[in-house]
């Protein structure tokens, strides 16, 4: 940094941004802008407890030509101090201090970081408190002198030892999940109400103080507090304590002054007096002073946001006073003149510049710091990379294909070498190689699939030559930052990969990335409404009135909000404040898979924090990590990958066939036939109703069609209206036209429509003449940003560039119009291709090994249909799903060879609700000694099965083979458990003189379970029934002329209904029908303009019911019921059917109309002798709510069986 301008004698050194998470009111960028407006050439950022905003701050400073001073406000023995880093070494020390502060807050010590390499999921821990117990338990175990009661094994570490009451676990934070479908991961929320504030000791500060400058902090600082109370002796003592740490005496190893007394005047009572006393104190102690304003926001306009965030953080209302709330709006970035007016201490102003000049830390270098690859002796990174790629080229390309591949490879290698990324690729290659050696299925995806080098190294499985993929989408010479490589792993074994990576690269060199959670519409509405004083029921109701969206869109929802709040005078204020929280950070979370790998300890770059579930993470998100030159690898768990691995294992075990997905040809007609039939439940990415409809129109016939299919159903193409033109052109129903000839080579293989992100980049680069870097920025803008100002600016650049290349202006504008409508996320081609491979593999499995595929799918549940639907799908494929049984079931879904040679699916013991995992283990171990002969035999050989476990087994049908019926099994488990437990010693081995626990006379004649009871027990036990619930209603439905859904699809062939491949893709309307079923899904997507989509299932099939907004309003209360009748015309597209709802009724009306709520079995009155559930030794099991069946739909629908129980 050049010396600051001579006429500037002041720099703000103590400021907080909104990265103090509820303790600062402006973005770092806003602070920098304000400093620039004031002509201040430097600015310090000192967020509370961290450096979360530092990368953004430095980038903003560089953009504005301002020198950035890096620091943080740290609690030292409970007292805040401002610490500024003088050098990279000082920054490292600051990071170490902050790491230790956060560890202490989590109840951990320094050395515990190494133990956090253990995957908490594998150890069963659910909280950091559990980790703490693990640490102490292991310490005890290792110490032969420990007094642990059970010295044979570490104790206190099973779920039974964990305090399940979160309010009693001091370090448990909220755990929420993010992601959907295949990748769901728990997040932590930092800080949590239950965690103490991060703090370090003075002693620790002393260890790391050499290259730090300390300011005594403002009003909240100990020095200020003591001085304001005239406790001068204590104040002097505190100063002297600090001076010992920040010793600036000659001869000390750290040179220069490092301790400054902070003077501020926030225009509160006595501020001037206290400042004067502090100045006097500093002079007496011969310490320098420095002026700050303890800034909490950039301008006075941000004050209300700051106060609101403070109230939200403290969980108080705005009407409640609190010491931490601002009493005025003076804590903003003031001008030098304003401060001089308040603080007449010229030297203290000079020192701010002196300090700023002495602090030089750059977190945003122009280079990358990759992790260290293992390179064989005698080779360089480049030569080793070349060797591996050459081998790949020979293996993967036939001789006649190698020329094109070689040319691409040479081009990419040059870019990779220029960017010095050889080691990065070698590291990723090593990770996937080791995973495969361990039998862990994995595949790279995302933009990395555009790279032939990634393909040659087996990181990805998509041939970029074959699929015409654009390398520049992934990497180019002008790209800033590290390339983004995502690798999907078998979800079951992802933790093994992460463990290995931590050991391989070093505990200190690896951590997960954070993700920044900013205020979105719902959360902003909740927090602001709460703070403004609305009661919680209103707050809850409010958040239901708005969809997920951006906070600054709140005014679009004024009406529904007012319908909840009425004409309250604060509504306008509510809307104003919610919009003001747009982009404001709320908390830091854990990224689902981003792992940072570094060759240096990460503490050189960032503090490390520990999430509530014990995962180490850096305190920056992936953009900031990339800006710092660090390398991140997305290690993602894909449940479909686990499903494919498990399916292949089942096939190998039961059919002796080895499946190698990598070598499967991608052109099997049987696979496409299955897909086009619409039987896509359990197929990756294409099992939704929307996709089924799309498939019916698009009818993919080859792999490229599948790639397009995957890419079409994304917000980008959906909202830009690309789907219908694509399908119509592909089906030959309209001509393919290009607005300009230069677009043809870019869009030819997608029939002239924009489908992929690469095409946006290509259009911007080749059509509009943008540089690759600008084109990449443009692509990102189109995908992510809704900022009309930026889009407008980009539009001007785009159109001007196209015109400069000779494109007529109207065409340039029209093309930009089309491109700009590609708003929202769209896939890049390589990502779609990588996903399409998984689609194909899942379809191949279902086509040729449906039993194994469905069993594996039930095990891993990567889709969104519930178990009932999956079992119905299995039934449709003639694959019975067999009950769990204590004789044969294991802990996983498995296959069974039936007497007729078919394969059936055996449900596992783990599918039984209420049966503990330990109980399953014990049953499996005990069974090794031989099959169970009776309930008594089971209870005796597995004495740790408690009453709850035994009952769960009985009701699920798992004991039916021992007893003949579930009701009898339940009776027997009651008798046996009572007598066994009354004996006092469950582990007692029976002797000749012991009476049996159960004798025949103990079991009375018990009535058989009714169909409804059986269904009810099945759902409660395993989440699915032996028969579909609608079976119970079928007779009544037949009486009313209501057909099955399957017959409706099969027999109602409409004239010209599009079953011919050449038929129109338009949906046709058919006859009016009434259908009945269970609601297994309800969706009302924000893009659907108020339409609701209901998936209705009966015992034969399911169908989508489309509910127009008017019908939705009319039948809103009925539509939330679990089982319904819908009447309306059928809609047909090829083999796909939907029903357009015109009328809706509840299904229970089928059973006797309106005379109360009769049972499904026909009983009308409470006095009827209905079926009894009798349990030995216990009163009748009641289910007070009448909720007899377990939830059967993802949305929580419940089908009510009306069987009355009398006791």
């Amino acid at each position: 940094m050049a010396r600051l301008s001579w006429y500037v004698v002041f720099v703000h050194l103590h400021t907080r941004s909104w990265f103090s998470f509820g303790a600062g009111g402006s973005s770092p960028e806003a602070l920098v802008t304000r400093a620039a407006e004031l002509g201040q050439p430097a600015l310090g950022l000192t967020d509370l407890h961290g450096v979360y905003g530092m990368v953004r701050f430095q980038k903003a400073c560089k953009a504005m030509g301002i020198h950035a001073v890096v620091g943080s406000e740290v609690l030292v023995d409970g007292s805040p101090l401002v610490l500024l880093a003088r050098s990279p070494a000082g920054y490292r020390d600051l990071c170490s201090l902050l790491t230790r502060a956060h560890l202490a807050s989590a109840g951990l010590q320094d050395g515990d970081l190494a133990l956090l390499g253990e995957r908490m999921a594998m150890s069963g821990a659910r909280s950091v408190a559990d980790v703490g117990r693990l640490v102490s338990a292991n310490a005890d175990f290792a110490n032969p002198d420990s007094e642990s009661p059970d010295s044979s094994a570490p104790s206190g570490f099973g779920p039974s030892d964990v305090d399940d009451d979160p309010s009693n676990a001091p370090n448990v934070g909220e755990i929420r999940f993010v992601g959907s479908g295949d990748t769901m991961t728990p997040l932590n929320i930092l800080p949590t109400p239950k965690r103490p504030v991060p703090t370090v000791t003075l002693e620790l500060l002393g260890t790391y103080a050499d290259d730090l400058i300390c300011l005594t902090a403002g009003r909240s600082g100990t020095l200020w507090q003591l001085t304001s109370r005239r406790q001068d002796t204590a104040a002097i003592s505190w100063l002297r304590t600090l001076r010992e740490i920040f010793d600036d005496s000659p001869g000390h190893k750290a040179c220069g002054r490092r301790l400054y007394v902070e003077l501020m005047h926030g225009l509160l009572p006595e501020d001037g007096t206290v400042a004067a006393r502090l100045h006097h104190l500093a002079c007496t102690e011969q310490l320098p002073t420095v002026v700050t304003n303890d800034v909490r926001f950039a301008t006075p306009a941000n004050w209300r946001r700051y106060d609101l965030l403070t109230c939200a953080r403290l969980n108080i209302r705005v009407s409640e006073p609190h010491a931490e709330r601002p009493r005025n709006a003076e804590a903003y970035l003031k001008s030098e003149a304003q401060l001089r007016h308040l603080l007449p201490y010229p030297d203290a102003f000079d020192r701010t510049v002196e300090i700023a000049e002495s602090c030089r830390v750059d977190l945003v270098p122009e280079y990358i710091t990759p992790p260290a690859a293992i390179i064989p002796a005698g080779k360089t990174a480049r030569s080793y990379l070349t060797e591996l790629c050459d081998a790949g080229l020979q293996d993967l390309y036939a001789p006649d294909q190698r020329a094109a591949a070689q040319a691409q490879y040479d081009r990419e290698l040059k870019v990779i070498t220029d960017l010095e990324l050889e080691e990065f690729f070698l590291v990723v290659h090593e990770v996937v190689s080791v995973a495969r050696q361990r039998g862990i299925r994995c595949a790279g995806r995302g933009s990395a699939a555009n790279s032939i080098i990634a393909f040659l190294l087996r990181i990805t499985a998509v041939d970029p030559i074959r699929h015409n993929l654009l390398f520049e989408r992934f990497l180019h010479g002008e790209r800033k930052g590290t390339p983004d490589i995502d690798v999907d792993f078998d979800a079951d074994r992802r933790d093994e990969v992460i463990d290995w990576m931590e050991r391989r690269f070093g505990i200190e060199q690896t951590a997960m990335t954070a993700t920044l959670i900013t205020y979105k519409l719902r959360l902003a509405l909740r927090d602001v409404a709460k703070a403004l004083g609305w009661p919680m029921p209103k707050v809850d109701a409010l958040s239901q009135t708005v969809p997920s969206g951006l906070a600054n869109e709140v005014t679009e929802y004024r009406e529904p909000i007012q319908s909840v709040l009425g004409d309250a005078p604060l509504v306008d204020l509510l809307l104003e404040r919610v919009a003001d929280l747009h982009l404001c950070p709320r908390h830091l979370g854990l990224h689902s898979g981003g792992m940072v790998l570094s060759r240096k300890p990460l503490s050189h770059f960032t503090p490390i924090q520990v999430s509530a579930n014990g995962v180490k993470m850096v305190t920056f998100d992936k953009e900031d990590v990339e800006a710092m030159g660090l390398v991140k690898l997305d290690v993602l768990g894909l449940r479909m990958m686990a499903c494919l691995s498990e399916g292949a294992a089942l096939v190998h075990r039961h059919e002796g066939i080895e499946i190698d997905f990598e070598t499967l040809p991608l052109d099997d007609p049987g696979v496409y036939e299955l897909i086009c039939s619409g039987q896509t439940v359990t197929l990756f990415q294409i099992e939704s109703q929307g996709q089924m409809h799309l498939i019916a129109q698009n009818q993919p016939e080859c792999f490229d069609d599948l790639v397009a299919e995957v890419a079409l159903f994304r917000p980008g193409p959906l909202q830009s209206g690309m789907i219908h033109p694509f399908i119509r052109r592909r089906r030959g129903l309209e001509p393919v036209v290009y607005e300009h000839p230069s677009l043809e080579p870019i869009l030819a293989d997608t029939y002239g429509v924009i489908l992929f992100q690469e095409q946006i980049l290509d259009v911007a680069h080749r059509f509009a003449g943008m540089s690759l870097s600008d084109a990449d920025d443009f692509r990102q803008l189109m995908s992510k940003t809704h900022d009309p100002v930026r889009m407008g600016q980009m539009g001007v650049q785009f159109i001007a560039g196209a015109i400069a290349k000779g494109v007529p202006p109207p065409i340039a504008e029209s093309v930009f119009e089309k491109v700009s409508h590609f708003v929202g996320y769209g896939f890049c081609r390589s990502h779609a291709a990588a996903f399409a491979q998984t689609v194909y593999h899942s379809a191949w499995m279902k086509r040729y090994h449906p039993a194994a595929h469905l069993a594996a799918f039930m095990q891993h549940r990567p889709g969104f249909y519930n178990l009932m639907t999956l079992e119905e799908e299995a039934r449709r494929f003639s694959i019975p799903t067999l009950l769990p049984t204590v004789d044969e079931s294991t802990a996983r879904y498995d296959l069974v060879r039936l007497s007729d040679g078919r394969l059936g699916i055996r449900k596992p013991l783990t599918s039984i609700k209420g049966l503990a995992e330990e109980a399953v283990e014990q049953i499996l171990w005990a069974r090794l000694a031989g099959p169970f002969r009776s309930v008594e035999d089971l209870a005796t050989r597995v004495p740790d099965l408690d009453r709850r476990d035994l009952d769960a087994l009985a009701k699920s049908g798992a004991l039916d083979t021992l007893t003949g019926s579930s009701r009898r099994a339940l009776w027997e488990t009651g008798v046996v458990a009572n007598r066994r437990d009354a004996g006092g010693d469950r582990s007692h081995q029976p002797s000749l003189f012991d009476m049996p626990l159960l004798m025949e006379e103990d079991v009375p004649d018990l009535p058989v379970l009714s169909a409804a009871e059986r269904l009810s027990w099945d759902y409660r036990s395993t989440g699915a029934g032996r028969v579909h619930p609608i079976t119970l209603a079928r007779r009544h439905l037949n009486d009313m002329g209501i057909p099955t859904i399957e017959s409706c699809q099969r027999t109602m062939v409409l004239p010209g209904d599009g079953t011919s491949p050449k038929a129109t893709s338009n949906d046709l309307q058919g006859p009016v029908v009434t259908l009945a079923g269970v609601v297994i899904m309800r969706q009302r997507p924000p893009t659907a303009k108020g339409f609701m989509f209901v998936t209705l299932e009966d015992e034969t099939s399911f169908i989508q019911v489309i509910v127009h907004p008017k019908i939705y309003e009319q039948y809103y209360e009925l539509l939330i019921k679990p089982a319904l009748l819908f009447k309306g015309p059928l809609q047909a597209t090829g083999t796909w059917r939907a029903l357009l709802a015109k009328e809706v009724w509840p299904l229970e009306g089928v059973f006797g109309g309106y005379a109360g709520f009769p049972s499904a079995a026909g009983h009308q009155n409470a006095g009827d002798a209905g079926k009894q559930v009798v349990r030995a030794g216990q009163a009748l099991e009641g289910d007070g709510s009448g909720d007899d069946l377990a939830k059967i739909a993802a949305g929580g629908s419940v089908f009510r069986s009306r069987t009355r129980r009398t006791g």
């Binding site: 225009l267 009572p269 006595e270 001037g272 004050w303 209300r304 705005v318 003076e330």
Partner: protein, 95 residues
Amino acid sequence: MKSIHSPIDVDTDDRCRPVRLYWRSNTYHVSRILDRWVLQNRWWAREEKRLYVLVEASLAAGEPVAGKAVQHLELYLKTSAVGSGNEWTLARVVD
């Protein structure tokens, strides 16, 4: 400390600093300004910012009042009134 919260007439200088106070038929001469601060709390009620001043004042005639030669008086002005004339309030008298 005695809470008053009553309007008071104030003469100010060209920098809006109180120089004379008129209250209960007495005229007070401000000898010095001891402190000043700003409070701005109830933004949700659109409440205005208040500029507070703690002054040392004595009766213009030099006569003590209630045995005191000087008094410390806490005044405030709402921001909408700045520069518009007399809308000062006497908040408290410091005993």
